[in-house]
Symmetry: C2
Subunit: 380 residues, 2 copies
DNA sequence: AGGGCTTTCTTTCAGTCTGAAATAATCCTT
DNA sequence: AAGGATTATTTCAGACTGAAAGAAAGCCCT
């Protein structure tokens, strides 16, 4: 029901009933409960049909509840406050003072408290979504391994729950971003999805039946060392031709430096040069796009999702290569895929990090998995 | 509930309640309904605890219902009758007289009717599972493409339902086999699974949350053209190093002929020679095992299933190479996988084809997806 | 202004499913 | 034959559902 409200903005009860297949009676009962709990509110009625009892549009109550989120990145923490619809009310970025878990957590907690106090307007917080890179076990809320921060087995959830007194949802950043895409991005109407992130690291998240598939080790989505045939670049794992070695920003930038196209290894500089007309720079970026397409073909062949969403600086910084990616994926794939429709760039803008941490909370909320928030129908 | 009965054989109601988490009251109600409908029966009581009211073991009623199945292969049709537990009551193989859909279907229907009449003992048939190679759309029951039989867009289900008057479930053979593994094989206790078949063709099936994931084109599990780096064998698709080109029986047999190891391209002959001590023959098989392991590493990294099940003549005919497959997969995989536990050979014997067609019916039955069979609790 | 008309929303009612707890059943032990 | 132990059944109340009847709230028309 909440999904119908999310998807269709302010919406009258009778439409909800039609969309969800529930009876009007059930919708009324549920909405009264949700109105009482402060999750929904009556929206100002817009001009509607000129006959019959007027529609009463229902919408999320953006005043009484908020979701909080934080993304713990290599160099900075992004914190966010958002309403139930996922609209960001405020975000902030904090440069790390130190990378020790204790210091990062302390800083994030302090500033998140402050941000919430200032922008939540007295609303209650549903919970806190924590998006963090590397290998994460969401069930226990533990960061198993994060090279960027140098963390190993950090019990993030228990620490944060203790100091914030709110439900905390820890998840890998790639999976969090996939959820954001699923709720607020281009994948809202899709059942299965593979989200592919290509930036300084590469990773994927698999969604089947609108549920993230994590696997027993919470490690599903590992595409870094998928072997591609198109090159023999050496990967940090010691092997040759890994997807990671061919597609990360860093790899490309280093190649460009080797070839004297740019002075410092920076992907932005390389894109700049390519846009300036440099043939070899463009060739490098084209080659990466083909590698990405090649990898996608493998993923699409194996998983055949409704949709593939591409994200990360490796894709968004130079969208002009999307066509190459699509063409390569299509030609490598035995399936007759419609690449224009099934391979899409991320629908989230610059606020991906903030949105993705928020998506963790709202996903749990919509699924009724949040510990203290359960909705049952009222009977009088 | 039925799953508990399937897993734990004859089992008293109170145990079912404990296993399923239902209350004893609900279990009683459901069992009485299922007993009345002839799905369950009271089993002969075995000697049990020597105090208290004796347990009444409940088991499937193997007399009043059966499942029927057929596998349409390249050269022959396998037909089967089985009880609700999946135990085969009778199977038969029919060589095709012709490969036209009409001829194959007519023959299969005739003989399946006869087999059922003879071995079902008056039991009703739940439905007919049809396992067929190639690209199949199970929703519409259409065989989109099957090269072995030369079929294109054959509306198999509608034809069979008309002539048999029973619910018909059409599914690709690989997915049917994965279901059989899920219900009767080594994957009964597992939530997610990738089933990898390697024989004259290669293919996979993906199970997440004990449900087959098919994807929008019903094409999930395509691993044939996944690129491996270990060789440059040319695939029928025109590319180099495809998984298919490196691992099918036919490919291996042809290689062996090229190298003069055997006279006729036959995988069995090659295995024979290798077992006889031929170094180059063994090297060929070892190389295939490593290729398979390499492919598995990609699959495991991406999907991270609870379990990988290997099947098909490419694996079962020469089980001595399983260790190589596992070792290669483990070494190629960045995850710390326990290959001995998570990569297993199929748990089904020679009756795979029959069992897999039966699994289609029982899977639908257990999920209550069979059109005329729905169970609701009784109230008096 | 007030009675129809139309549509939305609410309430009533009956039905289904559930589990807790009381009750019945059935065996073994003494 | 009574007592004990345990399983199976029934009774009961609670939760949820949809169908249908009823109330509400606007417009239209005279």
């Amino acid at each position: 029901m909440l999904r119908a409200v999310l998807a269709h903005g302010p919406i009258p009860r009778s439409h909800i009933a039609r969309l969800t297949g529930l009876s009007q009676a059930s919708v009324t009962r549920l909405t009264t409960e949700l109105l009482a709990r402060g999750f929904l509110a009556v929206a100002p009625s817009t001009a509607t049909a000129d006959v019959g009892r007027p529609l009463v549009p229902i919408d999320f109550d953006v005043r009484s509840w908020v979701a909080l989120g934080m993304h713990l990145g290599r160099d900075r923490t992004t914190i966010a406050v958002a309403d139930l619809r996922g609209t960001l009310l405020a975000t902030d970025e904090l440069g790390h003072e130190a990378r020790e878990p204790a210091a990062v957590v302390r800083q994030a907690v302090t500033w998140l408290r402050r941000l919430a106090a200032r922008h939540a307007g007295g609303a209650q917080a549903l919970g806190v979504g924590v998006s963090v890179g590397g290998w994460v076990d969401p069930d226990d809320g533990i960061v198993i391994e994060n090279d960027a921060l140098g963390w190993r087995n950090v019990p993030l959830r228990s620490r944060l729950e203790r100091s914030l007194g709110l439900p905390v949802l820890v998840e890998s950043n790639v999976r969090a971003m996939a959820l954001a895409e699923l709720w607020f991005g281009v994948a809202t109407k899709v059942r299965s999805l593979v989200y592919v992130f290509i930036g300084n690291v590469v990773g994927a998240a698999i969604v089947v039946g609108r549920t993230i598939h994590r696997g027993p080790l919470a490690a599903a989505g590992g595409i870094a060392h998928m072997r591609l045939a198109s090159s023999n670049a050496r990967c940090s794992c010691g092997r040759i031709g890994c997807f990671q070695a061919l597609t990360t920003d860093m790899h490309l930038a280093e190649r460009a430096v080797e070839r004297g196209l740019i002075a410092q290894p920076s992907i932005d500089a390389l894109i700049e040069v390519a846009r300036g007309g440099s043939r070899p720079a463009r060739a490098l970026l084209e080659a990466r796009a083909r590698s990405i397409g090649e990898g996608l073909a493998v993923i699409i062949g194996l998983v055949n999702p409704d949709l593939v969403v591409l994200a990360g600086s490796g894709v968004t910084a130079a969208p002009e290569y999307l066509a190459t990616i699509r063409a390569e994926a299509r030609s490598r794939c035995v399936l007759p895929i419609d690449a224009e429709r099934t391979i899409l760039p991320s629908g989230l803008g610059a606020d991906v990090l903030a949105s993705s941490s928020i998506a963790l909370v709202l996903d749990a909320f919509y699924r009724q998995e949040l510990p203290d928030v359960t909705v049952r129908s009222t009977r009088r």
